[in-house]
Amino acid sequence: MRALSFFVLVLTALLGANHAAAQVPAQPSAQPSTQPPPQLVPPAPVDGAPLQSAMQAPQSAPPQNVMQAPQTAPPNAPAQTAPPQGWVAPQAAPTVAPERAPFDESDGEEGYEDVSEPIGLAGRLAINATLDVLWYLDTANDAFARSRGLTSGGFSVALTTIDFSRQLLLDFGLGWRTESSQTVVLQAFNALYESHATYVDATLRFELTPWFVPRARVSAGLQYLSATLSNNSGSSPLDGGAFAFVSSVGAGVELLGRLGAGLTSRESQTAALTLALIVEGGLVVGTNSSLTLAPREPVDDEVAADRLPVVGTNIGSLGGVAPYLHISGALRF
């Protein structure tokens, strides 16, 4: 547990330091940028349009063209870079994602800059390493742990599928989570508990700022849990398992950062690898899992076939209701 705490603190500190460093260039939106002008990607040659003219077009653009949004562009127009003079835009630029609205400074969101490119797939796919702490309300779970809380880990992937507006996104994901605990129960038995859950989830994310994203998530899935009770009397361990339907609802925040780049640059958010720390709290609701334990089947087939038929016992049900704290680190592409 100490290692876990240390890991979370280190992760938090790293992201916090990164965020603090990135705040420096994000402040002076009205000041001239010291960064070099952005490199425009040369468009593909179009019939009658000399390539050279296209390459020369940025030279006539003001150096602050990114920070100074095109005055002629309507506030809610699709995010496209204004074509330089003498340049003929391609007729059909391929887009993958719904187009985003350019940033409107009238929103009053400090440090939020215009994105004139469609985000495409970039920034929409997230891979999460999750850490959940669940406080099961049912005392039955105490049989397998010395403390009321259980820590689980897992992985999940999520894809931003629906973009309701410029800031409101809906992700759908698929995840796997496992938890285990082991303790001594009744001063005689080693009690081992393991569970594996596969789930789908839907996450509504609201990009309040480029680095601070409140979110709400619901999930549903299937869990298989197993229990083993063994002692040193020489008898076979008692094993059993059960399936349970699990669901959860929770809310939290997602803190975004890009290693080695400014946090407030939307392009940096969307066009490259982004690291996210997600902290979320909520409630897991699962069906009760009735556990019937029976002696473990011998490994040797011959011994197993020779064994007397045996009747196991039902040790009761594990409750599935638990408040949880979800912490995950995510890589967004």
Binding site: S5, S147, N231, G234, L308, I315
Partner: protein, 531 residues
């Protein structure tokens, strides 16, 4: 670090800290304390005092969850109620402590029949022993020396008389204190129905150091009668150990260690005009039977009961007529410390008549003595026949319904471990065995005897009709064998703390028809934290 990051870090630390600190229910840290199981008609009763629960396992439906019956705290003893499909569980209660309320001791009657509600008799004091009448109608709960006596103040001569046929009430059980000369009860014996002046009744004989106490169980409000077995100045520790009853000529016979006499308490009628309480008065007589009597038994001599008493030290057997106080001493060829009275024919005597077998189980003798009890006082030594068994005897298990006695011999390689003695033919059949008889049990109808080794997974059995032995290999080491009276099943108890029983067909014990039940003492384990 921004405020948001600080909040996140703080939340993480708090969450992880909370995970570490929340403690689980203490019930999961309580060690199990399971008493040896008892067999009822068709069920087994296990008692786990740590969770105040009796688990009733129906052996005819092993797949069903065991029935759980709530008990009081401190269950310390469980026994089958005589002649009933019920178990008696003695709970010593709880003295109380920080966070633990005190609880009075109790006696709970657990039925082997599903649906029958348990009955709990509140006893009050933390008794540690129980005795019951042969018909199971009444029980006396008492203190016994040397078994966890505790309490700031307790009276070791307090007893509780429980009418098990009646529901618990303010007058059931009856608590009282028996008169004491400084001793503590060591055992309680119940008489059969004795022919007394006011009608047949059951008496309780409470044994204490150097005295016995007679108590009218059917009239618990009447005063007890205390009979010293030695004079106050007698330095001997005359400790009564064995009691026999003559129900027709109401007499109580008491044998005591450190005494060369048998104590006969003839219960004489008290004239109605003189009765202040009891309708009987014991008349004590001491019957000299030689040196240090080792055992005693009653037999019907036609004109009344006689007592037969072997004495190993004097190598003789005494026949006692309590009414006349006459003692007939018969010398034996081999010493004997055990006597078994039975009705059987004998070689050359087709008459079914009372006979006695005298033997010793201390391993010092390999011969036994048969005594024909008809006219023994006249014929004396002519009624004695000595037979050689071949090996020293260290144990005996009578099976009088079949006219058999199973003798156990000291273990030796290449020698028979058991002998089956035909009491009528007076012949013995050697059986090679390497298991002691302590764990031997007869199956239903006494057609087989089952013996469990002290280690190993093989259960031995012997067909008492054909003398053909057999064994069944099981999956775990055996600790006890419990035949069931109302089901053709033999329950083999294994030493698994979670509960492990193998059920065998008593009429045809084979591995192919055996099945096991395991883990039933952990039934509803996960619900223990809710309590």
């Amino acid at each position: 670090m921004s405020r948001a990051w600080q909040i996140v870090a703080l939340a993480g630390v708090v969450a992880l800290g909370a995970t570490s600190c929340a403690e689980r229910a203490k019930e999961f840290d309580t060690a199990m304390n399971v008493l040896p199981p008892v067999a009822l008609g068709a069920s087994l009763v296990y008692v786990d005092s740590s969770v105040q629960t009796a688990y009733v396992l129906d052996v005819t439906r092993p797949e069903a969850a065991p029935r759980e019956v709530a008990l009081g705290r401190g269950a310390s003893f469980v026994a089958r109620r005589n002649e009933h499909d019920e178990a008696l569980v003695l709970c010593r209660g709880e003295r109380g402590g920080v966070g633990v309320d005190p609880e009075a001791s109790s006696l709970t009657v657990v039925s082997g029949t599903a649906g029958a509600a348990p009955r709990t008799y509140v006893l009050g004091s933390p008794f540690n022993a129980i005795a019951q009448t042969p018909d199971g109608a009444r029980a006396i709960v008492h203190f016994r020396t040397g078994e966890g006596l505790a309490g700031l103040l307790f009276n070791p001569n307090e007893i509780a008389i429980v009418d098990l046929e009646a529901e618990p009430s303010a007058t059931n059980p009856v608590r009282r204190t028996v008169r004491s000369f400084g001793g503590v009860p060591s055992a309680v014996f119940f008489s059969p129905s004795m022919a007394l002046a006011e009608g047949p009744r059951t008496l309780a004989v409470i044994l204490s150091d150097a005295y016995v106490t007679l108590l009218d169980v059917d009239n618990a409000d009447r005063p007890e009668i205390t009979v010293p077995l030695a004079l106050p100045e007698d330095p001997r520790a005359v400790l009564p150990v064995q009691v026999l009853f003559d129900a027709d000529d109401p007499t109580v016979y008491v044998r005591a260690v450190a005494s060369d006499d048998i104590f006969a308490l003839r219960l004489q009628e008290v004239p109605a005009a003189e009765r202040a309480g009891n309708d009987f008065r014991p008349s004590l007589s001491q019957l000299a039977v030689g040196s240090r009597p080792n055992d005693m038994a009653l037999f019907d001599a036609g004109d009344g009961q006689r007592l037969i008493v072997p004495s190993r030290a004097s190598r003789n057997v005494s026949i006692v007529d309590a009414r006349s106080s006459s003692v007939t001493t018969i010398p034996l060829d081999v010493p004997a410390d055990r006597v078994l009275v039975f009705d059987a024919t004998a070689p050359g005597d087709p008459e079914l008549s009372p006979r006695a077998l005298l033997f010793t189980t201390d391993g010092s003798a390999s011969s036994i003595s048969f005594v024909d009890l008809v006219d023994v006082e006249e014929r004396r030594g002519r009624n004695v026949e000595t037979r050689a068994i071949g090996r020293p005897i260290v144990g005996a298990l009578p099976l009088l319904a079949r006219g058999l006695l199973v003798l156990q011999h000291s273990s030796a390689t290449g020698a028979p471990g058991l002998s089956l003695l035909d009491l009528a033919a007076r012949t013995s059949a050697p059986i090679f065995a390497d298991v002691p008889l302590e764990n031997a049990k007869f199956g239903a109808n006494e057609t087989r005897i089952f013996v469990a080794p002290s280690f190993g997974p093989r259960l031995g059995f012997l067909d008492l009709g054909t003398f053909v032995p057999g064994e069944v290999r099981l999956d775990a080491s055996i600790t006890a064998v419990l035949p069931l009276a109302d089901a053709p099943i033999v329950a083999v108890i294994h030493g698994d703390l979670a509960g492990h029983v193998t059920l065998l067909d008593a009429s045809d014990p084979r591995r192919e028809t055996a099945r096991s039940v395991q883990g039933f003492l952990l039934s509803n384990l996960l619900a223990r934290g809710d309590e």
